[in-house]
């Protein structure tokens, strides 16, 4: 039984005003059902990152509506938004965005701490998440002591620790070598197989090939939205 997780309607995101106005999103509508694995592709400047930030409740729309699990995001206040960001969404950035000079496990524990989860349970869940991404032996390392692939896996563990239903990844493999990319994509397959909705932004075809549905964007518009034939079963 699936339901609509992401429902973006007539989304417009405008930067600047008047003559110099730039439309990062020009009337985009998109629906994503629970359990889907979606890749959003497009050249830089196509608006895919903007769309991702909107979906992750990190940015707001100039006009249009965004329903996450049936709830309109723009009507939420600051506190409600922080709960949505913390519990419903796991966000993975291209540049990892780990807190500097803080150990891997402390980074993974952080979103749990903000949810008010007690130290003992936090530690247990963070350890488990790090085990899933294969970094159980690197828990006490700070970001600078980890490779790019390892840092990204810590970021994935951080996103997973809160057990979100939606995993958003903005060019997660952009800064990784091919081995790390492969490992990370395997991880995403696993996460999706467990029933979580995964949305990945990428401009690499082999990354997009892992997804079940591929959306292509250009100039702030969706130009194609199709089922990935290789994955369709």
């Amino acid at each position: 039984m699936t339901h609509t997780v992401i429902d973006v309607r007539n989304a417009v995101k405008q930067y600047g005003a008047g003559q110099s106005a730039i439309f990062a999103l020009a009337d985009v509508s998109i629906q994503i059902e629970s359990g889907e694995y979606v890749a959003i592709m497009g050249p830089s400047g196509s608006g895919k990152s903007t769309l991702m930030n909107i979906m992750g409740a990190l940015d707001n729309l100039t006009s249009g509506e965004y329903f996450l699990d049936g709830i309109e995001i723009s009507s939420m206040d600051e506190d409600a938004l922080s709960i949505v960001r913390g519990r419903k969404i796991g966000f993975i950035f291209q540049s990892f965005n780990l807190i500097p000079r803080t150990t891997a496990i402390a980074n993974v524990e952080l979103p749990l701490a903000y949810q008010g989860i007690k130290s003992a349970e936090r530690k247990m869940r963070a350890t488990k998440a790090l085990e899933v991404v294969g970094l159980a032996d690197r828990m006490d390392h700070e970001p600078t002591e980890l490779s790019g692939g390892q840092q990204q896996r810590v970021a994935v563990a951080r996103a997973l620790a809160t057990r979100p239903s939606l995993l958003l990844a903005d060019e997660p493999t952009g800064a990784l070598d091919s081995k790390s990319t492969h490992d990370l994509l395997d991880l995403f397959d696993q996460i999706n197989a467990a029933g979580r909705t995964v949305v990945v932004i990428t401009h690499e075809n082999d990354v997009a090939d892992r997804a079940k549905r591929i959306i292509r964007m250009r100039d702030g518009k969706i130009i194609s939205d199709e089922i990935n034939a290789k994955k369709a079963s």
């Binding site: 922080s82 965005n97 979103p111």
Partner: protein, 412 residues
Amino acid sequence: MNLLEIIRFALRGLTINRMRTGLTTLGIMIGVMSVIILIAVGNGSAKQVQSSLDRLGTNSIQIRSGARGFGGGGFQSASRRNSASSAKQLTIADTKALMNPIDAADIKQVSPIMNANSTCVNGSSTSTPSTFSGVWPTYFEAANTKVVKGSYFNDDDVTQGRRVAVIGNTTATELFGSDNPVGQTVKCGGIPFTIIGTTEVKGSSGFQDGDSLFIAPITAIQNSITGYVGLSSIIVEAKSSKVTDAAQTEIQTILDARHGVTNANSRDYQTFNQASLLTTSASNSKVFTVLLGAVAAISLLVGGIGITNIMLVTVVERTREIGIRKAIGAPKRIILAQFLIEATILSLVGGLMGVLGGFIGSQFTILGVKPAIVPMSVFLAFGVSILIGVFFGGYPASRAASLRPIEALRHE
């Protein structure tokens, strides 16, 4: 998320850049410390002036011969000097006239003072007392000078012109070392005097050593050293410190009549009222304290600007981190609380260290002044430093925490 956890976050934030944390704390510490110490020095010097005036006795009035503005240059004082040359000197008769229970009802007692400069010799030891005076026995009470060893001289000694003397501690040490001076004889200006007593230690008041003292019956000094010239001054003790002004008016009325003075500006003598001197010097030292306080306040302000600057830099530098924290679900109030607690810890630790430093620094004598801590200044300095830290740490943090996560994340 409980407070303890936020405090732990804040502490972690502070330990990330130890050098900066340390320097900021140092800035606050110096600010608070200097406020406390400088105000303590101002207060200490005020107390010192007060106590040295207290030693002189607040009831006493001094009368000196000569017109006002003595020693000044220019045309005006030259004309005054002319009038002073025709002026009458203070005499024993003037002194006795002041002992009138009707016309001088507020005067308790008087003593003439005959000052001299003389060097005293005891064997190979010499001493030149800064105060070498011939007086009546009433002087001791009027000038608040007490004999602690031996005895005072009496009216009979004055009448007989006996060469006896009471000396101060400095003079005693210079002449006799650690020996008991009472009963010994010294030669001053070639004249032998028998020491009959030593005075209580007064300590130094400003430039003058209050214990470099040689007091003898006025008749003995006049007979052997100065001759029968006009008096140096007359000391008057009012009945209480409340009536010193009234006593001063009575003195002026009596002396004006005796000296034929018709105009208060052409008096050939001056009166010095200890009570009014006290008021003047008290207000002087208040100005001094305010001045020091202002200097200290500036240093606290500079310390405060230092905190502000560091807090701004810290928050700007960590805007990206704030963005990450918001993106993974940190509520605004927790981010704000973390930065506020960081600022509070910085200013609290710096402030406490400053208070400690202030208390330690005030134990030492600074520029000859024993600092006396004003409790108000401690609270003020401490309170201001915390307010500055919290306000200027909180304001930029609240600005950063209000950003949309994506804006904060884009910040480089």
